[in-house]
Amino acid sequence: MSQSIVRRLIAKDLYLYRWMIVGAAVTGIAALFVTGIHEITGLILFLTTIVALGVFIAMYGFLVERKEKSLLFVLSLPVSPMQYTTAKILAALIAFLVPWTLLLVTVIAVNFAFDPPPDGNIPFTIAMMFLFLANFCILIALLLTTGSEAWAIAGILVTNFSVPVFMNTVRGLPGIGEHVDGPVAVWSTAILTALGIQAAVIVLSLGLAFYVQSRKKDFV
């Protein structure tokens, strides 16, 4: 029963997220094609799509569910708070990772369309994509544990602000900047450190979300 209820709750969330998943995948791929026509427009559209996907999933799946009181309906089902937490996080991750993976693969595939392929930007592109994933994890952890609109706005502002900061600072770091426009992908210590920090942020934010939920006494 316990595994099956988690599976059903995940399926329920994915059904409710379905248009966001499809919309983000279609818009993201369209944005990549637009880069071929007008690079800046395509790039902005691509970045906006991924950011918007994360924000929509977090807001709709976590905040709206609480605000519109459908959380009460879900928690009245034979589910424990930890099963609910597991289902919520897994469903949100799947909903985000499906278009995220599709877009990452498409970005790398588009790279090969160039002759010779500018492989030097692959590590930084992957690090950028991991930044979006880390930001998404921070946002869902924040909304799951606080359920607060004020925290949601603060979280969205901070995570969005991190994007230009990351693009401007990390891209200029020694070991990254000099290889970005090169023909060969270089996995320098700097890029691996950036990826390691992002992985740690993902693990830490989700781990904290589980910890806080396990200590909570009141769920509505």
């Binding site: 029963m1 059904y15 034979p78």
Partner: protein
């Protein structure tokens, strides 16, 4: 001896501006208990503790024999919960909700669900966000009733329903109790609904149980007597009298322990009984709450 449907003993929950204080309740299987209280009395907090949505600070809670919140998954398999502020998923249809619950509860009764759709005039293909408030409540009731739970926990379920919809909902609750293993805890501040369907009534006020008993006991015990009292006679409260109001020669005595002895008591003191009124549940509730607040010096 059968396991009670609900058993709360010494339950407390402290909030910043409200405290549920040493609450004890017991609902036997096959019974309907009306939980009656004014706004902010603690009805919803009690129900949320029962449903493990909120964890009590102290005390024991058992639902169908399962300790809460520890064994909530087991307990909630047999509990149907509807609250007036609970919402279904607006972006999905009623049919989707029915299929979702069918996949969770093996005991889902599809034929009964179909019958309820007809009885409540609901369309399964309709999106939840396009339902009126009354239709939404009826949809929520359908979703719990079709699971045939052993315990229904209903927090103000008829609030905001028109009289016809209320009648339909109450009739369905009575239908549920044809199976004598099934029980209902029904919270409301609408005493007419509670009086209509409850076997047992618990009055709750400011986080405390004020009184709890069989409905018939309340109706039998509580009376309002109109007395004709000579000006020079001072009227004293007999045992069980909760209030006396006097205006010239007319006095109104309210009692929670009515018996013929009360007639003798006041007649001996020089008053004559003009009339004896049976009180409605609403009158009993108000008198009970006011009396208890006075006794506690609030």
């Amino acid at each position: 001896m059968t396991i009670p449907a609900i058993e709360l003993s010494g339950v407390s929950k402290q909030y910043r501006y409200f405290k549920l204080d040493d609450l004890s309740l017991r609902l036997e299987q096959g019974q309907i208990m009306g939980l009656v209280g004014p706004n902010g009395a603690g009805k919803s907090t009690t129900i949320r503790i029962l449903m493990a949505l909120v964890r009590q600070d102290a005390g024991d809670v058992r639902v169908l024999g399962h300790a809460m919140p520890k064994d909530q998954v087991l307990a909630k398999q047999d509990v149907g919960f509807v609250s007036d502020d609970m919402r279904l998923f607006g972006g999905a249809t009623l049919a989707w909700h029915m299929n979702f619950l069918k996949s969770i509860y093996p005991c889902w009764d599809a034929a009964y669900a179909k019958a309820l759709l007809r009885r409540f005039h609901l369309r399964p293909e309709q999106q939840v966000k396009s339902l009126s408030h009354g239709e939404h409540v009826k949809a929520s009731l359908l979703l719990v009733l079709a699971r045939r739970p052993r315990l229904l926990v209903l927090d103000e379920p008829t609030s905001g329903l028109d009289p016809v919809a209320r009648h339909e909902a109450l009739a369905e609750f009575m239908e549920v109790l044809k199976d004598d293993r099934r029980s209902i805890l029904f919270s409301s501040h609408n005493t007419v609904d509670v009086e209509q369907i409850s076997d047992q009534i618990t009055f709750i006020d400011r986080g405390r149980v004020v009184d709890s008993n069989d409905k018939e006991v309340f109706i039998d015990r509580w009376r309002r007597l109109s007395l004709d009292v000579p000006q020079d006679v001072e009227l004293r409260a007999a045992p069980g009298v909760t209030s006396i109001s006097r205006n010239g020669r007319t006095a109104v005595v309210t009692t929670n322990a009515y018996s013929s002895d009360l007639h003798a008591y006041y007649e001996q003191s020089g008053a004559s009984i003009r009339d004896v009124h049976r009180m409605t549940l609403e009158e009993v509730f108000v008198a009970n709450v006011v009396h208890n607040r006075k006794e506690r010096g609030e």
